[in-house]
Amino acid sequence: AAGVIQSPRHLIKEKRETATLKCYPIPRHDTVYWYQQGPGQDPQFLISFYEKMQSDKGSIPDRFSAQQFSDYHSELNMSSLELGDSALYFCASSEGVGKLFFGSGTQLSVL
């Protein structure tokens, strides 16, 4: 069965650079979520989109933005990267209100 696909798998950036993470949800899933997970931490909700509109907002920094496109894929844009942004970034998708299915994540390292 198709799963949530994220790219890239790993990303290395320097401070103050920008990064773009991509997420392709499970086909027919209309809702996409972004989570950030630091080492040994629980996933922290950043933002979600339903039918290409932002639906919920969590602890997403102002330096980050995201959007969902007409094909339902989503991108998380991160600017002015800081060392503390180093983390695993997960995308999840769901069909309406329901269980979330997660991708394998993007490991972002900011040097």
Partner: protein, 114 residues
């Protein structure tokens, strides 16, 4: 966000024994809960879910119990196997009828001893 916490950060069990992982949640309005399993370097994997109108739900080798009175959730794994070694998270949805924002608690690391 709301606090969802686990009682124990680590749990070690012998292969074949049953495992019980606990979770306390703070918001009595939460109406939907999911248990996730996360292996190292991988995304959280759905195990089982339960809605607030139920107090027990069973899956394959797993059972989730919900006690709304004390705001407690538990995951029982029967006949634990080495492949069950992972970090387990509970996640709560404050209002699944109007939104789908899940809050994760601190994970419990389960180690299965062969």
């Amino acid at each position: 966000g709301e606090s969802v916490g686990l009682h124990l950060p680590t749990l070690s069990v012998q292969e074949g024994d049953n495992s019980i992982i606990n979770c306390a949640y703070s918001n009595s309005a939460s109406d939907y809960f999911i248990w996730y399993k996360q292996e190292s370097g991988k995304g959280p994997q759905f195990i089982i879910d339960i809605r607030s109108n139920m107090d027990k739900r069973q899956g394959q080798r797993v059972t989730v119990l919900l006690n709304k009175t004390v705001k407690h959730l538990s995951l029982q794994i029967a006949a634990t196997q080495p492949g069950d070694s992972a970090v387990y998270f509970c996640a709560e949805n404050l209002d699944s009828y109007t939104g789908n924002q899940f809050y994760f608690g601190t994970g419990t690391s389960l180690t299965v001893i062969p």
